[in-house]
């Protein structure tokens, strides 16, 4: 285990961090922006991040006239003396060092790392972090501590506190191909294994349930194959339900009676609705209540004109609305009337500790995704609010709703500033924490998500982002933005992420854990020979 000294503190301020002069012989190329290092003060140990690296020369003339044809001897002598490097280091946490002579102090040390309240003085030593340092800060794997990956320069597990993770809504960001969906799968596996929450996953591209080929041609398992009957598969697509070996458990139908005004407004763009649509729908609702959509779609031309006359609606607007909404009716999974029982069953399964993946199959247009996810989530939200109220009345631990984490890909579709106030997801992101429902938001373009939602995210995990706006968005409301910006910009394009927020004591760059056979085993996956088929007992039984 290396415990290598890198340099000494020569300057600094509490507000801007420390400047460390690197020792001669330590090259800048040994260090990475954003890497985790330790400053040994006299009384405290400071767990810190490298936020910048500077090259310096003691005599500016050297820079204007660098030695030509230098001998190795001279070059070797100059480096680290006349020419040297400093690094900017940001203390993030500190740990009081025990006074070894006092046994009581050793006990006190168990309090663990604390927020930084001071800085070390001149010549405090900067060194590489050891395995023990990582374990001290990030905890040891096991229980709610879930290994997410390894530091960029070392091969030891770094853990996420999953209990903290599911307490608030979280985000996974990064350009396409950085490994967001894989990362989400890793985290969800951790959540399932540690039982800190149940999951509802809106799986637009059918990536989560069954095996899937990676970009480099390997096949990786889906959640159903790892966790078997603990994971239920709902599908919008009847064909999926029939596939052998990869079949869904339930085919979901959506009734026109279940579609509300807000769902339709959310689809304004997809359905080409005019500005007047909202007013017309308002009038329809006044007349027909829950039946408004069905009634509107059933009306003939004459009936519609008649209704317009009676209700004062604009005839042109009404018939264009009718024309546009016919598109909904044509979706295969939409029926005139569907009971809420199917959705409520699903919610009950969640409450029994099952996890649900809703697959869209062939119905994976933006329209389907927005409509169904929003509608299902609205029902979930209602039921969770009821449950929470019941629990608050009875105070019976049995009534306590299980924490639920809802995963949505392409989250900006629900959470962009124009719609975030109306969609159920927007409401959940802002206030459902109190009802034990949180979101796992996955998106390539964090800048298109409502800043208010972004600021509510507890933990953010982000892969490489190049657009300035996206970087700014991911870092909104985070302290030490400059240090983290550097870390973010220096990430590799695949499988490297920066994690910050509620579930980690301090931000850290990681190489994401490999999603492979060893991982399935660690999650307790059944042997490959066992099929994923499950019986009715599994569907409804207690786990």
């Amino acid at each position: 285990m290396s415990n290598k000294r890198l340099g000494v503190v020569v300057d600094g301020a509490f507000n801007s961090g420390l400047t460390v002069r690197l020792d001669p012989g330590v090259t800048t190329e040994q260090l990475r922006i954003g890497s985790f290092v330790v400053v040994e003060g006299q009384r405290n140990r400071y767990f810190s991040l490298i936020s910048d690296i500077h090259l310096k020369a003691t005599d500016p003339r050297l820079l204007s006239d660098p030695p030509r044809a230098t001998s190795p001897f001279i070059a070797h002598t100059l480096s680290g003396t006349s020419t040297y490097a400093t690094v900017e280091v940001r203390p993030m946490l500190m740990l009081e060092k025990p006074d070894e002579s006092d046994p009581r102090a050793l006990l006190e040390m168990r309090r663990g790392p604390q927020p930084v309240k001071t800085i070390p003085i001149h010549f405090a030593e900067l060194r590489e972090a050891t395995e023990l340092d990582f374990a001290t800060v990030f905890g040891k794997e096991g229980g709610v501590y879930f290994a997410m990956g390894t530091p960029l320069t070392m091969d030891i597990p770094i853990c996420l506190n999953l209990a903290h993770f599911v307490e608030r809504s979280d985000g996974i960001f990064g350009q396409s191909g950085t490994g967001k969906s894989f990362l989400a799968r890793l985290v969800i596996c951790g959540v399932i294994k540690s039982k800190v929450a149940v999951n509802l996953i809106f799986d637009m591209h059918d990536e989560y349930a069954f095996d899937k080929q990676t970009e480099d041609g390997r096949w990786v398992k889906g959640l159903r194959q790892i966790f078997g009957p603990q994971v239920l598969i709902y599908s919008l697509d009847e064909e999926l339900a029939r596939r052998s070996g990869r079949n869904a458990d339930v085919t979901l139908k959506i009734g026109l009676n279940q579609i509300e005004e807000a769902d339709v407004i959310l689809l304004s763009e997809e359905l080409n609705l005019r500005q007047t649509a909202e007013a017309t729908i308002g009038l329809l609702r006044d007349h027909f209540r829950g039946q408004w959509l069905l009634k509107l779609l059933q009306m003939t031309q004459e009936e519609l004109e008649e209704w317009c006359k009676n209700s004062g609606a604009h005839a042109g607007a009404a018939s264009s609305l009718q024309r546009n909404l016919k598109r909904l009716q044509r979706q295969e999974y939409i029926v005139e009337e569907a009971p809420f029982a199917a959705l409520d069953d699903m919610i009950e399964s969640l409450d029994r500790g099952k996890h649900v993946i809703l697959q869209f199959g062939r119905h994976n247009s933006v329209l389907d995704y927005l409509l169904v996810s929003n509608l299902v989530t609205r029902r979930v939200r209602q039921r969770y609010e009821e449950k929470t109220r019941r629990y608050e009345e009875s105070k019976n631990p049995k009534d306590k709703p299980r924490p639920l984490m809802i995963t949505i890909e392409e989250a900006h579709k629900f959470l962009n500033p124009a719609v975030a106030r109306q969609t159920t997801f927007g409401i959940i992101a802002r206030e459902m924490r109190k009802y034990n429902v949180t979101l796992l938001v996955i998106d390539q373009r964090p800048s298109s998500i409502d800043p208010e939602v972004m600021s509510q995210l507890g933990t953010r995990i982000t892969g490489k982002l190049t657009e300035e706006r996206d970087i700014d968005a991911v870092l909104t409301g985070v302290s030490n933005r400059n240090a983290l910006r550097g870390a973010l910009e220096s990430l590799d394009t695949r499988q490297e992420v920066l994690i910050m927020g509620h579930a980690v004591p301090m931000p850290i760059s990681l190489r994401t854990r490999q999603y492979d056979e060893a991982f399935y085993q660690a999650m307790g996956a059944p042997e490959a020979s066992q099929g994923p088929e499950i019986g009715i007992r599994d569907l409804f039984g207690e786990d």
Binding site: T58, D59, P72, F73, L78, T81, S82
Partner: protein
């Protein structure tokens, strides 16, 4: 080995007359003055050398002929040994007292007429294991620039320590630290102590 006698002495250095004409100790070499009464050994670094007539106001005259020149002149004119003298100046760089090496100026200048001696390798190693004395060398003002005296000392010690590369690297870094604000001065010294891989590389390149 005794090599000279102190003929002028101050707190920072002395001038000695060399026992051998025209052969003062090498520039930069470490010499010592023993003070048995105080159980002390004072160390100095040779900072210049010169050979002059007894009457310093008068310049020497030409002695060579067509057939008598160089060494032969001294055989032809044995009296030269008596009317010429070789002197060298040395900078005080530290002392040994109570078994410990100190690299600062001794409390008293070495006494006049005492002997100047060479320093054995073991003793030289012991003294040059520390490099604080470079600072004294650099603050000396004499006929030879302190940078050149320092460089000569490093070359001499490097040679006497048996081409000790590790020592040379440490010494070079110490010099780089001392001269950090004067890049030109630093390069002057470094070029003068470079053990010469550069020329070896250049040669190899030339052969290709």
């Amino acid at each position: 080995m005794r090599i000279g006698e102190i003929v002028e002495t101050t707190s920072t250095g002395f001038v000695a007359e060399s026992f051998t004409l025209n052969r003062p100790p090498p520039l930069g070499s470490l010499v010592a003055v023993s003070l048995p009464a105080q159980d002390m050994e004072i160390y100095a670094v040779v900072a210049y050398g010169q050979t002059v007539g007894l009457d310093p106001g008068r310049r020497a005259v030409r002695r060579s002929t067509e057939i008598v020149f160089d060494e032969a002149i001294y055989h032809e004119h044995p009296e030269l040994k008596h009317i010429l003298r070789t002197e060298f100046g040395a900078v005080l760089v530290g002392y040994l007292a109570e078994g410990q090496v100190w690299q600062h100026l001794p409390p008293q200048p070495p006494p006049l007429h005492f002997s100047v001696q060479t320093v054995e390798t073991g003793e030289l190693r012991r003294f040059t294991d520390h490099l604080l004395y470079f600072r004294l060398l650099l603050s000396y003002n004499g006929p030879v620039s302190p940078l050149q005296v320092l460089a000569a000392n490093v070359r001499e010690v490097y040679r006497q320590r048996g081409s000790d590369r590790a020592w040379l690297d440490v010494a070079a870094r110490e010099i780089a630290t001392l001269l950090k604000n004067d890049h030109e001065a630093l390069l002057t010294v470094l070029y003068a102590i470079d053990p010469g891989e550069a020329s070896a590389i250049a040669e190899r390149r030339g052969q290709l």
